[in-house]
């Protein structure tokens, strides 16, 4: 049996009295396109931050390709690419500079990193003047594409993306989707959180749903349908709402008195 690409064992994070992630046990196999869903404040970003070494867990284990990221951080970080929620870009660099910088930090040789940066800029439509403008002057979509390019430049075997499609237009979304699809075809593991269920449904091979810090559902979409005892017609949105415990009938009853 192959080593899981991502594995968490009782991963927990508390902030004062609030438990943001509670005893999370999750396994993602190599090559999977894993969608991580949950309502706002469910613990998605907290989980991703713990998995990539940006937030120390209160307890539990997080492994990347079998390497405990909190025990051997550098070895684990060599395997991953990260596009965090806040993007975390050096705003006074240009996209080209930032991508080259990131590639060098991952140990990609200089000539190669230049070539890859140019290709990524072209692919993500950041070519020309845009590539040499400071990131601080970028639109949200351009920043996302820059962050994605920086996360991809070293060809990671595991890619973490926190809300990659949030706040970007259809053209940029398409470009990002195509790149992710290509990466997946190459055998990389992709772990991404998103609110846009339609994209998750189209791209992901398996999904996990987190609510109140706990994993409430996990599996392929047909498996979730089966568990939820829903028919073929059930969309991911139906399954998601069911998993997080939102009563759809009840929701329609909650109406605004002054709008009726």
């Amino acid at each position: 049996m192959s080593v899981p690409a991502i594995e968490t064992v009782n991963l927990t994070r508390r902030f004062d009295k609030k438990t943001a992630v509670d005893q999370l046990n999750l396994t993602v196999s190599p090559g999977e396109f894993f969608g991580f869903l949950g309502p706002n404040g469910a613990g998605k970003s907290t989980t991703i931050n713990m998995l990539v070494g940006l937030l120390r867990p209160t307890s539990g284990i997080a492994r990347i390709n079998g390497i405990d990221i909190w025990q051997e951080p550098l070895a684990a970080k060599r395997q991953i690419g990260v596009m965090p929620e806040g993007l975390n870009l050096y705003q006074r660099l240009t996209a080209r500079e930032f991508i080259r910088f990131a590639g060098t930090m991952y140990g990609v040789p200089q000539q190669e990193v230049n070539r890859r940066a140019d290709e990524l800029l072209e692919l993500l439509d950041l070519k020309g003047d845009d590539a040499d403008k400071l990131i601080i002057d970028y639109s949200h979509g351009m920043r996302k594409k820059t962050a994605l390019a920086a996360a991809l430049v070293h060809g990671p075997s595991v890619l973490f993306l926190d809300e990659p499609f949030e706040g970007i237009d259809a053209v940029s979304g398409r470009a990002i989707r195509d790149v992710l699809q290509q990466l997946r075809n190459r055998g990389a593991t992709i772990f991404f959180s998103s609110h846009i269920l339609e994209v998750v449904e189209r791209l992901c091979t398996r999904v996990g749903v987190i609510a109140n810090g706990r994993l409430v559902a996990e599996g392929t979409i047909p498996e979730l349908r089966e568990r939820a005892q829903r028919g073929e017609a059930a969309t991911l949105e139906d399954l998601f709402l069911h998993a997080v415990g939102v009563d759809e009938e009840g929701a329609t009853e909650k109406r605004l008195s002054w709008l009726s």
């Binding site: 940006l54 550098l74 705003q91 910088f101 930090m105």
Partner: protein, 554 residues
């Protein structure tokens, strides 16, 4: 033409809340305001007392001239103040209110009322009180009160007019970048500017003939400005010329009406989507960053590992491109100018009077620069820090690269000063002092590297306001204040001892030997400091990131 009082009240409260909430979560800003008030208040009180005495004691027409100058200066300050501090309070930004169906008169009334929350408003009061005391006696009191009210309205009106007219420029990143640098450098150069202005004034006054001096009347020109007219009205009323006084009051009121009308027109432009009157045009393509496309100067450093070169290169670029950091670099150039300026304006014969041992003092300048520029190294990474720490780059290399880049940046102004000192005092003490300073600074960086991991302090790198917003725990603040300077000095001290001994005993060879040993010492200390800081960072990465997380204001 009534006002919706509830709406006006809501706008007034909004402004009040925003004013108060700029301090919540950032208690450091309260300290900034207190420091500013403590600094400025004595100045304003002093000016009020001095002008108050002037109104009573100056002979002939000079109290009136003084009054004209005071009211015009206040008006000019309010004209410039919003340009520099427009981002102090979100409430100043009219554009945020434009989505609501607010009549323009309410918008104007709310904005004017909102100025009551600008603390600089209250800094005018002592000067107004002095005017009231100096001129308000007798029958002129109603005119004085009216003229002061007009002057207040003029002050706040011109501020809002300017914001509305040039809001497009104020909101641009390019303006902000330049303004941060200019405002900070102006602050640093205050002494320099003050001395220069005094000299200039002395020269102008000395060059006036008695006839010219007696004909000199600033108010004759200032009376045509809005608040100058108010001053003339007061002066005329005090002399019993009521008709003239009323004329000048009317003239000033006309100004107020004209500015209000102009401001309203500008607001109409904004509300109808025509935008600000002035905004910066897009930067021409050729001026945009040429950046890395053709430039490959890191090749010069091919003997270094790629990641160190890239990190150092990034550090240098960020040092220049980030306005708050650029201020630090420019200050290194300005510091010796200020110190030199103190000599120059003191009237001493500088060039010929410099002692031969002046070079021994160079390490002090070097140490100050190293201390100022290298502390809180990680704090300056801004939002990029998380990106950097998700990479597997060996952590000690981050500090080695930063040390390399920062030393290079410091070398530029430092070597310029050294050359100047060598020109003025060409001797072995100057050469050794210059080199010892650099060596000491490099050794000291070991301490700042470790402190930046152990006691990181948040700096909002892309702060949209003038000056720096900084935060951090009490422990980190105390450590940087009480622990860092002595340890930094202590670690940097050993290379200085042979230089001091060599100077004391007049044994140049001892200095040269000390220089070599000191160089090795500094290299070793910095190397081990970087290694230790790297190891420490690896253990504390999550904590450092949590402390240095940037607010989402992009």
């Amino acid at each position: 033409m009534g006002f919706d009082r509830r709406r006006l009240k809501a706008l007034f409260y909004l402004r009040g809340r925003l004013t108060l909430r700029q301090f919540s979560g950032e208690q450091g800003r309260i300290v900034n305001v207190l420091v500013a008030v403590l600094f400025i208040l004595p100045l304003v009180l002093g000016a009020a007392v001095a002008t108050g005495i002037g109104y009573f004691q100056l002979p002939d027409r000079w109290p009136g001239e003084l009054l004209g100058v005071v009211l015009t200066v206040i008006w000019l300050i309010w004209l410039v103040f919003p340009i520099i501090f427009s981002s102090l309070n979100e409430g100043l930004d009219v554009t945020r209110l434009l989505v609501y169906p607010l009549p323009r008169r309410e918008l104007i009334a709310a904005i004017l009322l909102g100025t009551l929350f600008d603390y600089p408003t209250y800094l005018m009061l002592p000067l107004f009180v002095a005017i009231l005391v100096g001129w308000g006696g007798g029958l002129a009191l109603p005119v004085v009160l009216l003229a002061l009210a007009l002057s207040y309205i003029h002050a706040v009106l011109i501020g809002q007019f300017v914001i509305t007219a040039v809001g497009g420029v104020l909101q641009s990143r390019r303006f902000r970048d330049v303004a941060i640098v200019v405002a900070s450098l102006l602050g640093v150069s205050c002494y320099f500017i003050q001395m220069g202005s005094m000299r200039l004034l002395e020269n102008v006054v000395a060059s006036l003939s008695p006839e010219q001096a007696s004909a000199f009347s600033p108010l004759a020109a200032l009376q045509w400005l809005p608040t100058g007219a108010a001053a003339r009205a007061i002066e005329r009323a005090a002399s019993g010329y009521w008709g003239e006084s009323l004329f000048w009051l009317g003239y000033s009121t006309l100004w107020a009406a004209a500015i209000t009308w102009g401001w309203q027109r500008l607001l109409i432009r904004l509300t109808t989507g025509e935008g600000f009157l002035f905004s910066l045009p897009p930067r021409p393509e050729k001026q945009k960053m040429k950046a890395a496309s053709g430039v490959n100067w890191p090749r010069l450093f091919a003997w270094l590992p790629d990641d160190i070169v890239q990190l150092a290169y990034k550090e240098l670029r960020s040092l220049w491109r980030t306005p708050n950091r650029r201020v630090g670099v420019l200050q290194m150039f300005i510091m010796p100018l200020i110190m030199g300026g103190a000599f120059i304006f003191s009237g001493e014969e500088v060039a010929t009077e410099l002692p031969a041992w002046i070079g021994i003092g160079l390490p002090v300048y070097a140490l100050f620069n190293f201390w100022a520029l290298t502390q809180n190294m990680l704090g300056w990474e801004g939002s990029g820090l998380s990106a950097l720490l998700t990479t597997p780059v060996p952590r000690q290399r981050i500090f080695l690269a930063k040390g390399l880049a920062l030393t290079a940046a410091i070398c530029l102004p430092y070597l310029a000063v050294c050359v100047l000192v060598l020109f003025l005092a060409p001797n072995w003490q100057s050469v050794m002092g210059a080199l010892t300073g650099l060596i000491m600074g490099v050794a000291g960086m070991a301490v700042t590297a470790v402190f930046s991991v152990r006691f990181p302090m948040l700096i909002v790198v892309e702060n949209k306001q003038m000056g720096k917003r900084a935060g951090g725990g009490c422990q980190a603040s105390l450590a940087s204040l009480l622990l860092l300077p002595p340890i930094f000095g202590l670690v940097a001290l050993p290379p200085f001892l042979p230089l001091a001994l060599a100077f004391w005993l007049n044994l140049p060879w001892l200095g040269w030997v000390g220089l070599i040993v000191g160089g090795v010492y500094a290299g070793v200390v910095f190397w081990f400091g970087a290694q230790y800081a790297g190891r420490l960072l690896l253990q504390r990465e999550a904590e450092v990131i949590a402390t240095l997380r940037q607010p989402r204001d992009e």
